[in-house]
Symmetry: C3
Subunit: 451 residues, 3 copies
Amino acid sequence: MRLKLPVTCLILEIILIILFGTLVQYNYETDASEWHNQTSSDYENDFYYRYASFQDVHVMIFIGFGFLMTFLQRYGFSSVGFNFLIAAFALQWATLMQGFFHGFHGGKIHVGVESMINADFCTGAVLISFGAVLGKTSPVQLLIMAMFEVTLFAVNEYVVLSVLGAKDAGGSMTIHTFGAYFGLMVTRVLYRPNLDKSKHRNSSVYHSDLFAMIGTLYLWMFWPSFNSAVTAHGDDQHRTAMNTYYSLAACTLSSYAMSAITAHDGKLDMVHIQNAALAGGVAVGTAGEMMLTPFGSMIVGFLAGTISVLGYKYLSPVLEDKLKIQDTCGINNLHGMPGILGAIVGAVTAATATMEIYGKGMEDVFPLVADGTFTASDQAIRQAISLAVTLGIALLGGLIVGFILKLPLFGAPPDTICFEDSIYWEVPGEEPSHEEQLTVVRTAETEKLNN
Amino acid sequence: MRLKLPVTCLILEIILIILFGTLVQYNYETDASEWHNQTSSDYENDFYYRYASFQDVHVMIFIGFGFLMTFLQRYGFSSVGFNFLIAAFALQWATLMQGFFHGFHGGKIHVGVESMINADFCTGAVLISFGAVLGKTSPVQLLIMAMFEVTLFAVNEYVVLSVLGAKDAGGSMTIHTFGAYFGLMVTRVLYRPNLDKSKHRNSSVYHSDLFAMIGTLYLWMFWPSFNSAVTAHGDDQHRTAMNTYYSLAACTLSSYAMSAITAHDGKLDMVHIQNAALAGGVAVGTAGEMMLTPFGSMIVGFLAGTISVLGYKYLSPVLEDKLKIQDTCGINNLHGMPGILGAIVGAVTAATATMEIYGKGMEDVFPLVADGTFTASDQAIRQAISLAVTLGIALLGGLIVGFILKLPLFGAPPDTICFEDSIYWEVPGEEPSHEEQLTVVRTAETEKLNN
Amino acid sequence: MRLKLPVTCLILEIILIILFGTLVQYNYETDASEWHNQTSSDYENDFYYRYASFQDVHVMIFIGFGFLMTFLQRYGFSSVGFNFLIAAFALQWATLMQGFFHGFHGGKIHVGVESMINADFCTGAVLISFGAVLGKTSPVQLLIMAMFEVTLFAVNEYVVLSVLGAKDAGGSMTIHTFGAYFGLMVTRVLYRPNLDKSKHRNSSVYHSDLFAMIGTLYLWMFWPSFNSAVTAHGDDQHRTAMNTYYSLAACTLSSYAMSAITAHDGKLDMVHIQNAALAGGVAVGTAGEMMLTPFGSMIVGFLAGTISVLGYKYLSPVLEDKLKIQDTCGINNLHGMPGILGAIVGAVTAATATMEIYGKGMEDVFPLVADGTFTASDQAIRQAISLAVTLGIALLGGLIVGFILKLPLFGAPPDTICFEDSIYWEVPGEEPSHEEQLTVVRTAETEKLNN
């Protein structure tokens, strides 16, 4: 056991380095010679259009997802630490996998800020799945899961965006629906009938809920950047960010309302606030770049928050009891159902696209409609098929990967010590004892008197 | 009681959605058809001038204000959670109210990144007022307060900026002075003679002070973006950010100095560091875009930090004892007095504006001086009148809204359980018990031995 | 003692204000008159190329360094609070010192966003040194150290960049190597043979390690902005950010691997994760802007993480026992050795520069090679000499400043109360007692029943 994690990390990283050495090149915007060979001004370098958004996305991946999962009382190191590890691995692997499918030029993968954003996006899907198995999987299992999931993500993304021609800039389908149903299937396969032996640790304490709110708020604040990070320059990025902003604001109010109304005593539940308030970002991941209008965005956000809280309250217990799906973070409620809602909203919004509404902007939003390949209805159908494809690949992939992760060689924790940092980390105590604090203060006072 | 919060949230959000559906439209920079109808390059879209600043402001509103208020030992969920709720509501309502007064085109409110920033700004004023009543008001009271305060904010902003022609890009007057004196008047009206029954909870613990420092530092770091977010493109944004940076740095040193010098034993007080060190940002909110110079900015920051600490130390107790103003966060010291200082500095700096100093840049900073409508002295007088108007509307508005909030139907907490999360939230325990931790570790060791 | 800190702060700030009044001016991009006198478009103002990077750097300085050091159980206020104080002082002083050496125009220092970034960079070096003496120095000592270190930093930077013509955009040499060896020499001179009297406080608790992870992650996420903040516009900024991104990702995997492999029981150590995972950013500080390729960046990051963990595990105890270097945060492992590695990588990468690889981009990366002043080998030699010069100035400077700090008038804490907040701060208790919590809840329930 002692060597499994380091050996896995070292082998994976060495493979990555070799493949990068063989396959990866600067694109023309990061290559000193090529950029200076052309006539664009420096301010037209894509860096200035997308880097600020990239950094926001980066914060969502490492702080947002990492701290959102620190709500568990004794799993903070693992939540933020394994999130860090698998994200650092996944973004490298994603660069290669996504490069194979849509960044290949003359046998080389060309990289720049857009590939960095896409790698972070793919990583996001892995971290969503992580939420379902949180506390019940070893870091080696997580790295193996990440390796397979990134690969399947790239396949699904290729089919949805390149083969089917669907639009999904913020990833309602490719990121959220995919990550959620993949993770739910994995956790189903890894079902633990005796998980209640660790039940007392599967809950929060006061401070861990505050740490989790750091994650929630960064996800919430930067979601407009997430959805707009890879949309077309100009009005598209601008509109997508704004639609997401309004969707999230409306979602927050419906989440608070539903949280209080479904509680027997009217008290708010931190689980809902930490999670459901984000569903509005998920649900405009597909349609955010379209002419959804602030009005439409707010309706979508309102519905997403409502569905999400209801899911946490009524559906999650049923999934666990009847379908044996132990979903630690409730990713079905935050990413799964809102992702499906987002896909449907995307299809409906695409169906209503007209030249009157989009003008020449149609080329950016629906290029295949603009050039006459599709009608708006065709586009809508492609969007709907993409949802089905995504669900299919996610569920099938999760099934297979779940069984791979069951192999005993990856070292899953026993049922009695799930949700517990101390099996993976050197863990210090909780607090200096009260007596020591008093001693300390008294010592300090005495010293001062002596001076 | 159980239904008041959800019903309020749902009604408000439904009204917002209906009004957005009726009144709100994309502006020409977010509309696919309109943006592509004109000849600007994509990099001229206002998104690229302002979106990074918007995100910084957004972090200040949700993380900055939210975590700054987590200093209370038992009110962290409410601080960060109600901050989240009322901000999400206020930014939607502000979009409408500000739109009525200065974004109306042919019966429609046009929205884009600048309206998003302005909505966040208006939200900031509400959150300042929240600081005065923190721990003593129910979330329903806060939503009602936000609704009225946003409306009055928009009226005052319209009078100051559009009618009087004053400049106030960072909102020393419109945001900080307004939010502070509105909040102080509300808390005066809501005076609780028996608040000392909750006194033991109106203080910090070690970790809550560290959480609060997250809020402080984000406010401090991003204040240059706040003050420059809506100034004119080019040198104006650049200069405003830099002036604010220097003002804050100087303010930090004077805050530390005054905190130690006013303590009986020379020890620093976290309350001063968390709050007074920010006063430098408030105090250059008006003059930051002017040719204040780094030198001038540092003097202003130095004074603001000094005044602020002295206010916390000597003025706040007097306000509470003599004027019955119970100001939980000391907003008079962080936003009130530094806001007034900022307004005065703005007026003085405007009075000294000459064509020699500003050149053609006068058109950006003082357009009404540049086109000959005003002299620099006229501008200064307008600035001074704006301060008086702001104080008048804030105090009168706070008075009326305070009485509205006193109506028993909004469910204020009793005097004995102020500053306490558990009446609004499902609150978990503080820490896993020491015994349980030991058990856990022992179990882990045993399991390992058995493997 | 009571007056030393405030008097020091006030004197320093007043001197700063006077010097700023005498010497500092807006540069042409922040001056209203000058900017409007020229024909550039607003989007060409350097603000839009660098301000987002500046803000990321700013977050690294105040949140990143500040929270990274909160890992100590009883020194969180001082870690984040003194970091705040000395950074606010150092950035002002650095503006002057760096201005003297390379921003002087007609007797005036011209300031804008680039000087702000450079001031923050210089501040970073001071905060690195702070890490070595953390817990063992008074704030007055720290301010005095900052004053001298900033001055020497500016001298060294001038010699390295301007006299020798070396390149070091991300500061592997000028920031990390300099800050580390300066700090190590200071802590050597301040050696405390009886420091084990405070040993029980020189460690973390569970929550303090989570706070420290906030610092770690912000440093990790924004390091691409740090290294690219002052490189040339266009491909250079773009490439530097990307190289850093890949270096850090590879570094994270090698850090986790080495942490687990060097532990007797295979458990991960938070100290390594918090620190070593960042070494990849340090080690591409010089070569990041060069055509290092993602492949090269990943190799460098991999090595940096490995070296850093090995340093924490095996070298730090030796340095403390044999060389009497008490390095609280292990800055030799995070900044020292990876900084030297970065300098070497920079020299090697420079040696291999050809016109074929760089094309016209050579003018940005190696202007003195492009114009024929140097060959690539000359450049490499200049890079190597710069490392030696940096080490020399840092060690000699640290020696002298260490002895200055030993003067009794700056009030160092006694050996028995190092790593302890309560001698500088009013410190509240750790947690509300369990009994009080129960009382509170019971009161709440009773009140509700009575309503």
